[in-house]
């Protein structure tokens, strides 16, 4: 037994296997191919959830992805609980565990439903006007309580153990929607051999055809067409069919994002591979065949379990073999519900009545139904619904206003069908109001997008196929007007035989008592919209935000038109003047998993590591991220804090020797006959006269005169320079150089090659560095005379060619050993061994920062911010004053650059030697305190110095060099602290140690 409401053998499927699943712990049996909703309905279960705000009992409204009510949690094990799954989309499998949401203690007895009784106190926007006092209580009491009461499912806290995949694809034609129009379009487009991808959010292709009864002649013909079309499409190599795949967003240039659900319909033990796949598709042309959404009618109690859309009832009956009511009331403003009424009778149901809201409904249709013994109330209306957990009856008025009570176990309603225009709206297609159709239709579309089928107002299944075929010919660049030959003649239908797919949307609105819902998921009633308008919200955008109608996860696919219509009636304005809200991606909710995809944990952001990284890890280094690089910050010994470790590393380097991994420095090999001239134009200094074997500090400006980068440049040969850049500037310096070389100076014969990752750099600094480097480098005299400060040479180490620089970023005697990266760890080890006799101390970036700041060496991007000139930074000496031109030279003469009030680099000593200022702290004079926006400058670098035995800092201060000796106030978290302005160098101002 698979449910008391199962109708024997009606659907398109043949034999169906039994499937066992549980809902709220109770075991049920369904059939393979069922959704959770259809399987529960087959077992007579309509109550599937509680609503968001009022905790009202809710059943299914739809049979598809627009479902606002029947949201459940699916439990597939630890970390695999998915909340807010639409029961109408979840396929059942053996062992499926589903639970309902938002209730306490149980679905049937929910204390939260008191909110329904208190509803007069909590109308739309209540939180804007109540719970205002006392002020603190909102955050502490009201909001947490309201949040607990309201809501949907609970997200799991365990990490998601599933894998997600991603694919990029290009195709000539993308067809969105696998109903009659989409399938016909795919087939037609495929004729020309163009590549075609078709996607559909459902498990089965066929769309509206699946809702046709297989027993009718049209249903049989359509089923035949569907089978032949699918067989044909599957056989074509240029066609890819993606089921359970939602096109959730259209972006620029026909980029479409698809989420393919690959395992959620399988028992967890049978689910292998990725759970979902994100497709990023670039399509030359797109056919949107997204179908139409039936609209609810607005009457009191229209949300009770048992009330559903007539089209949904047809789908349950014809596709899933489920009779969702034995004595249903059919309420309609649309002809399509009459077909349902007849099919219900044929399936053994006894409809209580048919209420047609339209006074001018077609009498032929009514007569057809009356002939079966079912009362038809043309021009009637529904006044109320009995039954909280399940519909038991309704009060119905006929055209003359006579009220009668009818007993019924379900209500099937149809407010007409509205095209699904979400994707059209996302693609910036026009959406126009049609007075005739009483709904919005697609208007002018981007030139490579077309709509077909019900979303383009097709009137019948045959219309949909014809529209799809013609859109497919257009998309596939097929030059013929005939339908594809694969459509067999018997599949042709007379246009009249298909029911209308798009029909006028009308609603039943009235001043009746009881809640008549517009937005089921967000619990917005007709009265809420009317209240919003009374309170002055007249634009639909304002009404939407105030009432939250259309703002739930279904994006108002079943509510927007009703809200618009009620607003239009209340305001006395035509619908187009009330406006239309914008649909945005995603079309339906998309998991974070498929969006994050493999970019999680260690793969979220790539990490660059120098070759010596593992050695530093082994030494227990503390790391910091510098751009994409992960760098050793300091090497603490047992019990050391950062301050003591850094002070020890600094002192060791100044007294004996320190070693530092400088591999992350950017390196560019600049080669060619015009290399020196090129550098003359790119850097402020002059390079023509730099001798081979010498190096020089270079400053690079942008054209606006501000410092862009700096670094030491060594001349390896007449036509070859070894350029170093800052760690973070490597890529942008190369791009900057390439820009000028390619576009401004294409006549220069110069070639640029990034060598950042080819050279690993071991920087050895300190008085003993010569002894250590001399012990490992062969074939080079390192004496002051032979290899003075700012020398560079090619040498050998471990039988490998290396480049040795004598440079210093610490103020001590220093060498930078550039070794091929492959040799880095061996070379590092050799240096460490040679240094053992000299207490060689490894140090990290924090120590490097302190050492250079004690000397007043700037770091680009820390002591400069893109508004600092060489003069500001005290680097005027590095500018070649006699050079005719270089990038940025002209700007150094701009009036605001030569202004004497510019901020200049200074040293700062806090009066309190233990106070380490915060970097970014503002510097003011006493009389400026309290004056908004006034500041003389700020702190750019600030440290504790073990060498000085006190704190110190660098900063940029207005006319700073003239203020030497002056005391300013720095902002701190505890008020203002006095600091004295000094020259930006605190150690060995004469620079003797460099030449040691």
């Amino acid at each position: 037994m698979t449910g008391a409401f199962r109708v024997p053998r009606r659907g398109i499927d043949g034999s169906r296997r039994e499937v066992r699943f549980s809902f709220n712990g109770r075991l049920f049996t369904g059939l393979a191919g069922d959704t959770l909703a259809s399987a529960l309905l087959a077992n007579g279960v309509h109550l599937m959830g509680r609503s968001f705000k009022y905790h009202r009992a809710r059943g299914v409204l739809t049979a598809g992805s627009a479902e606002p009510n029947a949201l459940v949690s699916i439990d597939r094990g630890a970390g695999r609980v998915t909340p807010n799954v639409r029961a109408t989309m979840q396929e059942i499998y053996d062992g499926l565990r589903a639970t309902s949401q938002n209730h306490f203690p149980s679905l049937h007895f929910d204390l939260g439903s008191a909110a329904d009784l208190l509803s007069p106190l909590i109308p739309a926007g209540f939180y804007y006007k109540t719970f205002m006092w006392p002020r603190m209580a909102w955050r502490m009491l009201y909001e947490p309580a309201i949040r607990r009461m309201a809501g949907l499912g609970v997200a799991p806290t365990a990490a998601d153990p599933d894998r997600y995949a991603m694919r990029h694809a290009h195709c000539d034609v993308l067809v969105v929607g696998g109903g009659p129009a989409g399938l016909a379009a795919a087939l037609a487009a495929a004729e020309s051999g163009e590549s075609v991808i078709l996607c559909d959010e459902n498990a089965r292709l066929g769309g509206a055809i699946l809702a046709e009864p297989a027993t009718s002649s049209m249903g049989a013909a359509m089923a035949g067409w569907l089978e032949r079309t699918l067989t044909d499409l599957v056989s074509r190599r240029n066609v890819r069919l993606l089921t359970r795949t939602t096109a959730f967003g259209i972006y620029g240039q026909n980029a479409v994002a698809l989420a393919e659900r690959r395992t959620d319909h399988l028992p967890p033990e049978a689910a292998h591979g990725s759970r979902e796949r994100l497709w990023q598709i670039r399509a030359r042309r797109i056919v949107i065949a997204a179908g139409a959404q039936e609209q609810p009618l607005v009457f009191p109690g229209n949300d009770r379990p048992g009330v559903m859309l007539a089209g949904a009832a047809r789908t349950y009956l014809n596709q899933f073999d489920v009779l969702p009511g034995r004595r249903p009331l059919v309420v309609t403003a649309d002809d399509s519900a009459y077909a349902l009424a007849k099919e219900l009778i044929a399936a053994g149901a006894r409809p209580a009545a048919v209420v047609d809201l339209r006074p001018d409904a077609c009498p032929m249709l009514a007569k057809d139904i009356s002939a079966c013994g079912v009362a038809v109330f043309t021009g009637g209306m529904v006044l109320g619904v009995k039954g909280a957990h399940r519909v038991r009856g309704a009060r119905v008025a006929d055209a003359n206003g006579r009220v009668r009570k009818v007993n019924c176990d379900a209500i099937f309603m149809s407010g007409g069908w509205a095209p699904s225009l979400s994707l059209v709206s996302q693609a910036s297609g026009q959406i126009v109001w049609s007075e005739e159709a009483n709904t919005y239709l697609p208007g002018a579309l981007p030139k490579d997008i077309r709509c077909a089928g019900a979303c383009a107002a097709a009137g019948s299944l045959q219309d949909a196929i014809d529209q799809g075929t013609s859109a497919g010919f257009w998309a596939g660049r097929v030059r013929r007007a005939e339908p594809p030959s694969q459509t067999a003649p018997e599949a042709r239908l007379s246009p009249a035989s298909g029911g209308p797919l798009v029909s006028p949307v009308t609603r039943q609105v009235s001043g009746l008592r009881g809640k008549a819902f517009i937005d089921f998921q967000n619990d917005v009633t007709a009265k809420d919209v009317q209240l919003a308008i009374r309170e002055g919200f007249h634009s639909i955008e304002h009404i939407k935000r105030y009432t939250t109608t259309g703002m739930a996860t279904d994006q108002g696919r079943t509510s927007n038109l009703n809200a618009l219509s009620i607003a239009s009636d209340t305001l006395g304005l035509p619908v187009p003047q009330v406006g239309l809200t914008t649909f945005r991606p995603p079309y339906t909710p998309v998991t974070f998993g498929v969006l994050a995809n493999f970019a999680r944990d260690g793969d979220l952001d790539p990490v660059r590591k120098a070759p010596m990284h593992d050695w530093a890890v082994g030494q227990g280094a503390v790391f910091e991220d510098v751009g994409m690089w992960r760098r050793a910050r300091y090497f603490p010994r047992a019990g050391e804090s950062m301050r003591t470790a850094v002070a020890r590393e600094c002192l060791a380097t100044r007294r004996s020797a320190g070693v530092y991994d400088a591999s992350t420095l950017g390196k560019i090999e600049v080669v060619g006959p015009d290399a020196a001239e090129f550098l003359n134009r790119m850097y402020t200094g002059s390079w023509s006269k730099l001798a081979v074997g010498r190096c020089k500090y270079g400053v690079m400006l942008r054209e606006d005169g501000f410092i862009f980068d700096d670094g030491v440049i060594g001349r390896m040969a007449a036509d070859r320079f070894h350029v170093t850049t800052t760690t973070s500037g490597a890529a942008r310096v190369l791009a900057h150089m390439e820009d000028y070389l390619q576009t401004e100076f294409p006549d220069l014969r110069v070639w640029l090659t990034s060598t950042t990752e080819q050279w690993a750099v071991i920087a050895v600094n300190g008085p003993k560095s010569r002894d250590i480097v001399g012990a490992v480098v062969d074939g080079l005299d390192l004496s002051n005379e032979a290899f003075p400060h700012m020398s560079v040479a090619e040498a050998r180490m471990l039988d490998t060619p290396i480049r040795l620089f004598r440079v210093s970023f610490t103020g001590e005697l220093g060498f930078e050993v550039n070794v091929p990266s492959a040799l880095a760890t061996v070379a590092w080890q050799a240096v460490m061994e040679a240094g053992a006799a000299h207490d060689l101390c490894p140090y990290g970036t924090e120590t490097m920062h302190v050492l250079r700041a004690e000397k007043g060496y700037i770091i680009i991007g820390q002591d400069t911010d893109g508004t600092v000139t060489p003069e500001d930074a005290g680097l005027g000496w590095a500018v070649g004053k006699t050079k005719p031109d270089f990038v940025g030279l002209r700007s150094l003469q701009r009036p605001d650059i030569v202004d004497s009030h510019r901020k200049q680099l200074v040293g700062l000593l806090p009066t309190d030697p233990n106070l380490v200022l915060e970097e970014g702290a503002q510097l003011v004079e006493e009389e400026m305190i309290g004056e908004p926006g006034s500041s003389l400058g700020h702190v750019t670098s600030s440290y504790w110095s073990g060498l000085l035995g006190r704190s110190f800092a660098l900063g940029l201060v207005e006319s700073g060099r003239q203020r030497k000796g002056q005391v300013l106030l720095a902002t701190t978290s505890r008020g203002f602290a006095p600091v004295r302005i000094e020259a930006p160098s605190f150690y060995d101002q004469g620079g003797e140690r460099l030449n040691g």
């Binding site: 240039q253 980029a255 054209e703 606006d704 390619q742 401004e744 294409p746 031109d885 002209r890």
Partner: protein, 99 residues
């Protein structure tokens, strides 16, 4: 994500490229001969077109070369791409028309 037709490599995904500002703004041969005003105009003033806009792109994660493109700033659609140093192709300026 845009698809950009590099004149040297063919159509490639936008993340491979870097934007390079407005095209056809040549650096003056002798900047020091320019008045402050003329230099400021060269440095800071751009056409900021609505509609077709000639601009520079660099295929930084491909061939590394700069090239020019005409792009509609209303629709983001590229009308054409062409190598650096060649004149802007004659394409009618109809804002939004190419959508």
């Amino acid at each position: 994500m845009l698809l950009i037709d590099c004149p040297h490599c063919g159509p490639r995904a936008e993340p491979e490229f870097q934007y390079g500002g407005e095209a056809h703004i040549a650096r003056p041969g002798d900047p020091s001969a320019l008045s402050d005003e003329a230099w400021a105009t060269h440095l800071f003033f751009r056409s900021n077109s609505r509609g077709l806009h000639a601009e520079r792109w660099r295929h930084s994660h491909g061939c590394g070369r700069y090239f020019n493109a005409v792009r509609d700033t209303v629709t983001d659609r590229f009308a054409c791409t062409y190598p650096t140093g060649t004149p802007r192709p004659d394409i009618a300026d109809k804002p939004g028309e190419t959508r």
